[in-house]
Symmetry: C2
Subunit: 539 residues, 2 copies
């Protein structure tokens, strides 16, 4: 049966305009254009951060007793601290003796906790170089830290590593309004940087939930993926140059500002995604696209994962050059957001899956027409069950809340086992279903008052083949971890997926590298590490 | 004075419709839409290749007597040839004793000529591995060769290196029509691969003049830029995986098929742009975008380089997501094409600069409207002097001839000193002007019957900050080379540009690396080479 779209009506004043429900009466019209309302390009509302947990976070060294500190690393002395105070600006050396360093020792998931006694806050590349030289001579271990928003325990110490916080290196160095090339300190906050660019009609080619805290240097160090990858590609393509301080203090001056430079090996690529293990990134240059003048957001419900895939293929064909996000969320994830936020849901009836589509373009009328044609086609072919379209920027932000609110609200339950994986699209959601079955097979309930497992949800950047499987628990428990790992990684290996699509390896995923990479590749990684860091890679 | 666009009229039946001339009468109208005619997305006509030169190409070893063969490399023996015949398929071992190998020894510019006695044509990665193992044991030097279309002498032997031709490894291994991920042998020809994708409504994210001959493996090995970089970004962003055979014969299995995979250092990046010095690329996986349904081409004349820049900034803002090429050509380059092809020129009157703008999008009416608004704005603000719009695919191809025909027709003069450089946009064209002055300062005429210097032209991918400075000569001459080099590289170094934007280093540019890269970066390159190729990097 051919479905046609009903006359539009504002169903939720606080939300968005319903663009379609399956017609049950004769009240049928094809007019939908008035409902597809563009919003100005701009930052979406960031979902309020979860309050800091009150549960005590166990020391990583206690949780993982098999991981032992290498005795060949030195221990920081009073002389070291004095030296750092002598080379850095006042207030740039924090010690546990004088203040609470838990904000630097505990990660954002409250899963890992190090025991660093010293935090250093350099203000320049030269200061970072002096720090690294000293640490190299004294064999002191360090952990570079950006906004400390990482999800794999890579941004906090495991033992007593010195934390090098990049938070005071936060200057825009230059921006070329003709070429769109930005050069900036590593410690610039992503959202602040994007706002700077927005004022000049440009956009940072990366966006993610933690934008209000994360640093652009950390984004590059971890090769962050996020919400704009579908449109603007990976940082390996957009980052044009990297300045970094090597383990021995040498400054790597690879801060090219050219879109094309084919002179020798592209060494800077290795820093992108190296997670601070090859050096401390102190500055980046990056190609920024022009900011789209209009952004549209649609949110709809579908009854099967198969229909989600159909909607995606159609979006690539019809929205094509204006498609900027295609996020999918399962029912469990949306129920969870609804329960914790008490926000009114965008769609009245429940659906098995939800999709948020965002378009970004330069012409309001053109983008509306493309989105309208796309949505009509989906309705007509019974792919979509129901949906809404944002009518203004506030409504668009509210719709995004249903996507960005998932990790935020899950985090409130206590802890979250997070699996950020790439899997060929056709089997992507099966991992979530299989995980639920496995947990229950081990005799654990999901979501009951008594059970530690609060929820098992799946969502992610479908356009990138990237699933976020999240298992929310009341408290972290080795038993649950052993049910999930390495089973999840074996499941992924069988499908030639990746055990870390965008979060990196960090502390959490390092043991599972071989599930995603061939030995010939791992061997080269080891050798590259030796080139960059000849001393500690001997340990 | 505000200019308005005149009623359109077909001026050249063989070319394209004039979209505007400066109004000199009262015959004024704003109707332009009928002239903006889309063409189907598809391959542009490739300009007919120049016939093989008749001049004898001197041996590289004679032209550059300072470059000496390292005696520690072995010499190929009869046993080696027998071994290769025993492991490869019939006809896959070519020897100078039996046939003319000049097609493998001479580069496409007819500037370099090696003396290889043996050409090997493996059919599989395993065969490449066996070849490399043998060469490693016997310390035989090799040069991997794709379509032999390189412009820096990197694809041919310097001395007696064995040529490993990838031409028989030309199979598409897989293509996923949902994700757009292609996996293919290195020896697939770019144009053939793109045609395969076109049949599936996808596009290879790279296009360049040599597409009819060049190999996709060679494209990746040299990090080719080309005509689509502005839209789809560099290969560092689009290549998802590389399979390569290392110097000792080990197979590097990094042929990932995932859009996101953040598990460790992105080692495969080093192969992209390594020009065969780290290993022989045998296969690639690459993310291919959906092919645009409609392509529009406009070609216009401008009176100053400053106006070219203004037109570019406006294109980024107004054509935005549909802009797919912004190529500029100077007057000398267009005069040259006209003289050699005897084609009728798109614009009647001469202009100091010309720009070709291409848009690619999914909706004919939308793209036409955007292009029309863009061109009207440029006319009104006196940026453009005159221009034409292609009305169909044939006209679009004809317009592209005026861009792609430049290197082809210059090559017919005898030889071309090619400088493919990145320079900050505001000074980009000044290099061409300064080069003309310098040549004349040395007492040489340009373009006279007696002079060896036929022409000095500038053109290129303005959107990428990439200038092609070409000095066409009747014959290669050390004296001219010394006038130009290292002066050109010093000029670029002062502006922090790149001495090779997209052609690579090869034989031609290797001595000039330090003009574009910091010592800290070059040092790491050397160390990386040692990791990949411990034996020959000791030489």
């Amino acid at each position: 049966m051919r479905q046609t779209i009903r006359t539009l009506r504002a169903l939720h004043s606080v939300h968005a305009t319903k663009f379609a429900t399956k017609p049950t009466s004769a009240l049928i019209s094809t007019a939908v254009s008035c409902a597809v309302v563009a919003v100005n390009a701009g930052q979406r509302r960031q979902y309020a951060s979860a309050p800091a947990g009150t549960q005590v976070v166990k020391l990583t060294s206690q949780m993982y007793p098999d991981v032992v500190r290498d005795g060949r690393f030195g221990e920081i002395s009073r002389e070291d601290v004095e030296y750092f105070k002598s080379i850095l600006s006042p207030g740039a050396v924090l010690t546990a003796a004088e203040e609470d360093l838990s904000g630097y020792n505990i990660d954002s998931m409250r899963k890992y906790r190090g025991q660093s006694q010293v935090v250093l806050k350099p203000r320049s590349t030269e200061e970072v170089s002096l720090i690294m030289k000293r640490c190299h001579e004294r064999k002191l271990a360090v952990v570079p830290q950006g906004g400390n928003t990482g999800l794999v325990g890579g941004s906090v110490p495991v033992f007593d590593e010195i934390v090098i916080s990049m938070s005071l290196m936060n200057k825009i160095r230059s921006f070329d309004e003709v070429s769109g090339i930005l050069v900036a300190d590593a410690g610039c906050i992503l959202e602040t940087t994007d706002q700077y660019l927005a004022e000049r009609e440009y956009i940072f080619p990366l966006d993610l939930g933690a934008k209000g805290s994360c640093h652009i240097g950390g984004n590059v160090a971890t090769n962050a993926g996020g919400l704009r990858l579908l449109r603007y590609g990976s940082l390996h393509g957009t980052v044009l140059g990297v300045e970094a301080v090597m383990p021995d203090g040498t400054i790597f001056s690879g801060l090219g500002k050219l879109r094309k430079d084919n002179t020798g090996y592209d060494i800077k690529q290795l820093f992108i995604g190296s997670e601070g293990t090859l050096g401390v990134i102190t500055g980046i240059s990056i190609l920024c696209p022009r900011r789209s003048k209009v952004v549209n957001v649609a949110f709809f419900g579908l009854e099967s994962y198969d229909k989600v895939q159909q909607a995606f293929v159609k979006a690539k064909g019809e929205l094509s050059e204006i498609l900027s996000a295609f996020e999918f969320m399962d029912r469990a994830s949306q129920d969870h957001v609804a329960r914790f936020t008490e926000l009114r849901r965008p769609l009245d009836e429940p659906h098995n899956f939800y999709v948020l589509v965002e378009t970004s373009g330069s012409n309001l009328a053109h983008d509306e027409e493309k989105l309208q044609t796309y949505l009509e086609g989906l309705m007509e072919s019974d792919v979509i069950s129901d949906g809404v379209l944002a009518q203004d920027e506030t409504q668009a932000k509210n719709l995004w809340t249903w996507r960005e609110g998932i990790p935020e609200t899950l985090g409130k339950s206590g802890g979250v086992y997070k699996y950020d994986v790439s899997i060929p699209l056709d089997e992507l959601y099966k991992l979530v279903e299989d995980t639920r079955v496995r947990i229950q097979e081990f005799g654990l309930d999901i979501g009951t008052d008594d059970s530690n497992v609060v929820n098992v949800v799946g969502y992610g950047h479908l356009g990138d083949g990237n699933l976020h499987l999240n298992v929310a628990v009341k408290q972290y428990d080795k038993k649950i971890e052993h049910i999930l790992e390495p089973w999840v990684y074996e499941w992924i290996e069988k499908r030639q997926g990746s055990v870390s699509a965008e979060h990196g390896l960090g502390f959490a995923k390092k043991p599972y590298l071989q599930y995603s990479k061939d030995q010939s590749v791992i061997q080269l990684m080891r050798q590259v590490k030796k080139v960059y860091d000849p001393v500690s890679s001997k340990f």
